[in-house]
Each structure stands twice: as C-alpha cells, then as structure tokens.
Amino acid sequence: MSVIEINNLTKYYGKSRGIIDVSFNVEAGEIFGFIGPNGAGKSTTIRTLLGLIKPTSGEALIFGKDCFTEGKEILKDVGYLPSEVFYYEGMKVIDLLKYSASFYKKDCSRRIYELAEIMDLDLNKRVEELSFGNKKKVGIVQGLLHEPKLIILDEPTSGLDPLMQQKFFELIRQENQKGVTVFFSSHILSEVQKLCNRVGIIKEGRIVKIETIENLRSENYKRIIVETDTVLSHDYFNIEGVSDFTTNNHTYSFLYKGDINLIIKKISSLNIKNITIHEPDLEEIFMHYYEKGE
C-alpha cells in the first residue's frame, strides 16, 4: 500500500518554478530518501504534502487522502520535522510540547519525557534561549510525540552534533521497525545511504531517478581512468554509456555503464600507459544525476 502518492504534481510560485510534473509513491514501512541539491524543489514537495501550499496541478495523496483538502485528517498521523525550527518565543519547551500534544486526541506526556530523555533535552528552558541544535531537538520530540504513522523529515540533521545524529537515526530506525513510514529529505548523501531503502533524486524541479539504494550501487557503473601517451581525438570515448567525461593532459576519466567488452576493445586498441577501473562510490553516481544535462 502506498502511504504517499504523488501524481504529476506541479507547483509554480507565480512564474518561478517550484516543481514540475513530479510523480512517485512511498510504500508503507519503507524509508524513502528524497535527495537533490538546494533549490531543487524538495521543500516545495514537502510543503505540498503538508498542505501548506496548493499545487498548481496534479495531486498529492497521503493515506489515500488529498493533502490540500483533507489535511486535518492526514496530519493526525503525520510527524513533521522542518529543516529550520521556529517556535513561539516566551514559551518553555515543556509548555510548547504540551501545546503541540493538545492537538492530538491522545495522552502524549509519557512519550514526551521518553523522547526528551533520549535526545538529552532540557524541558524547562525557554524556546528563545535554545541554540539551533537544541531547537532541532525540540523539533524531533515535537514531531514524534504523537506516535505518527508517517514521519516527514526535511534536512533533519543540520545543527545536530554527530552523537545526536546517531541517536536520532537510531530513533528513526526504531520507529521504522514498528512499521512507521519515513520520508527523508536531504542533500547529504551519506545519511540517506545509511538509512534509506529507496531514493528519489530531484533536480531543477523534476524527478530524475527513483531507485533502490541497492540497485543504484549494483547498476554496474564503472569509473574508468585511462592514461595514454598520445592525444586522443576529442570524441574518441563519445560512445553510448559514457558520462561524466573529463580529460586532463593525457588522462581521461569517465563513468561507464554498459557492455564492458565494448569499452575494453576500445581501450585495447590504444597504446595506454596506465588504467584504473573501479566501482564509483554512490556520491559519484548522484553527482552524475545532478549534473546530467548541464
């Protein structure tokens, strides 16, 4: 069953681009990574999911309900952690959390104290006294205190120290094991890689790829670096499957995906000084998607 269903979603702010024709599903129980450079449309997508902004066209559904018109029902079971947390000044952390809890028709106080303990959060401080990282902790507790079925995270780790990041990931994993679906937006690849089952890559408002982390790794990309003693013609390696091509003196570096024999034949006809072929790390694959078409 799909928890999140996005169909041909487009959002323009006046004339400026938000997202264009975005479609993907997030299945129940998975941790879905949503990755892309700044300004790619991640937050726009999330704000549409939360019903804060109205799509220009297309639809976004959570639990099968429309995000803009049925937000009240949806949000009962959604926990959201924004990238930057803003709260009412003058309130104590505990009062703020209780205020947040008062919107849900259940007793959340036990969970508040539990989470505060895990995240090492001082409940008696005032909101405006908190550092960025501590505000983020309040955000985490606030996002999880009502035991949501879907957790939406927008760059959740910024501002958290490594220890807290680890605790936070642990917390998210535990929730996920209980069956909670997680939508995890980030531009930091390593954390997505650590946590997610599947990723969607968004660039300039459009989805460029949706793939499992496993498949991405096994997609058989090779990073090939060849050093020759003659200058090759500019388009020597301009064959299908070659991308991210760079050249430096007599060194040629590129990503290759396709029949390995083809490229080996091509290389073997050269007089080469040196060659390395290795698995690209995930970062390289992502960069490849980010930069494609530029």
Binding site: L50, L52, I53, K54, Y80, F86, Y87, Y88, F103
Partner: protein, 263 residues
C-alpha cells in the same frame, strides 16, 4: 480551545499595556476636568473656540462643564486609540504566525485552517470586548464618582457604539491579514484605512459640502454628538457595521483557506 487560550495568554502583556494607557488617558481627563470645574473658564473657552477647532474635539455643542460633556470631547481620541488596537490586533493575530514563522508548526497540527481562523477570531473578539469593558468600568469609576449627574446611560451608549467599530475594524484587520501574504503590507493598509476614515470624519464635519461623505466613515456612525446630542443610534448604521463585519470575516475565511502560506 487550545489555540484560543494560547492566543489570550500570548497577548497578556500587550493587553495590559493598552488597558493601562487607556485608564491613564481617562484619568488625565478627570484631573483636567476637576481642576477647571467650579470656574466656568473651561466651558467659556470651549464655547468661544472657532468651529474648526471644536470639530477637532468632537464637534458638538457639548456642555463641557458636565462630566459627560467633557468626556465626549475626550472620547473621540479614546475611540481612535481603541479602534487602532482592534485593527492591529486583527491583523497581528493572523500575520504574526507568518512573521515569526510559527505558521509551519501551527498548520502541520491536525486542524483545519477554518478552525484556526475561528479560534483566532474569538480570541480577538474576547480581547476587544475586554478592552471595552476596562474602558467602560474605569470611566464610570473615575468620572461618575466626580459628577453630580450620573453619566452611566450616556457612557453605555458610547461604549456600545465603540464596540461596533471595534468589531468592524478588527474584522477588517483579520480580512487584510488573510488576503495579503506580506504581513507588513496588511498592517500598513489597515492603519491607513483607520487614519483616513478618522480624518475623513473630521473633514466631513468641517465642510458642509463634504457632509455626504460622512456615510463612508464609520467614525461618524456612532460619534458622541450623534449618540448624545442628536438622534442616537441609527439602525442603518448598525446594520452596515454588522453587514461589513460579517462580510470581512467571511472573506477572511475564503482567502485564508486557499492561499499559499509564506514560509
């Protein structure tokens, strides 16, 4: 309920400051009134003022040697203050969430925008009613005990008229804040409208050929002169006030529901 109480709580300080300022204005009034009572100089001076200056003080042929007459002159400025409070409150209670970026928190709770707006409207109305009561009670306590003739009936009329204006202008504030994405724009439009209609109310009194404009400024609907010296409440004006308030509230819901929130 939680939003309503949260709002009232967060406005405690500001409400206290507005209340104290009003009580202070009334108290200053009585001090001046008492110091001039007994000698007729004040009422002589007032009666000898050129009409244009009188207009600036409410425009009526009030007997300023009586408490209610004196109060009526003071009243137009008290009323302006109270109306500014109402208008700013209406704008602020909506737009502060976007200014402080707390709107993201609020609207990601399981609550519809309609419910948010209704609770905020109730919190606004509660405060303007309370401010009205603070003014009424302090005026009665301060002025009535220092006057030979009771002023309560006259005063109640003024307060009811003022309450209608408070409701009207706070609804207008709620409407503008719901319509405009930029909170600064909404605030300045609302204050401009308050000041322009207020100045209009004085100008229409000053120039007889502008009198027809007096229907356009709510400040002329329930001014002290009309309520105390002339015909009293006019049903038409009451209905206009109520109609416009309902219209503004309705429109605020319409626009708030469909607009993108600025984040």
């Amino acid at each position: 309920m939680n939003i309503y109480l949260h709002e009232l709580k967060s406005y405690r300080k500001s409400f206290l400051i507005w209340s104290l300022s009003l009580v202070f204005m009334v108290w200053m009034g009585i001090v001046e009134f008492l110091s001039s009572k007994g000698n007729n100089s004040l009422s002589e001076m007032y009666n000898n003022l050129p009409p244009s200056l009188k207009t600036l003080m409410g425009g009526g042929d009030f007997d300023v040697s009586t408490a209610i007459g004196y109060y009526s002159i003071l009243f137009i400025y008290i009323e302006l203050t109270v109306v500014i409070h109402a208008a700013l409150l209406g704008v602020g209670i909506i737009s502060k969430e976007e200014r402080d970026k707390t709107i993201e928190f609020l609207l990601t709770r399981p609550i519809s925008r309609n419910s948010v707006l209704i609770r905020k409207t109730l919190a606004t109305f509660t405060q303007i009613l309370l401010l009205n009561l603070v003014l009424a009670i302090s005026s009665i306590l301060i002025f009535n005990t220092n006057s030979e003739t009771p002023i309560i009936t006259g005063l109640l009329k003024l307060m009811i008229g003022m309450l209608l204006l408070q409701i009207l202008f706070s609804s207008f504030g709620l409407f503008m804040a719901s319509l405009k994405k930029q909170h600064k724009t909404a605030g300045s439009i609302v204050i401009s409208v308050v000041l322009v209609t207020f100045i209009m109310s004085i100008l229409t009194d000053l120039h007889k050929n502008l009198r027809f404009l007096s229907h356009l400024t709510p400040f002329r609907y329930f001014d002290a002169k009309t309520l105390l010296l002339e015909s009293g409440f006019k049903l038409g004006y009451i209905l206009i006030c109520i109609f416009l308030s309902i219209l503004f509230l309705f429109l605020s819901h319409y626009f708030y529901n469909k607009r993108d929130l600025s984040l």
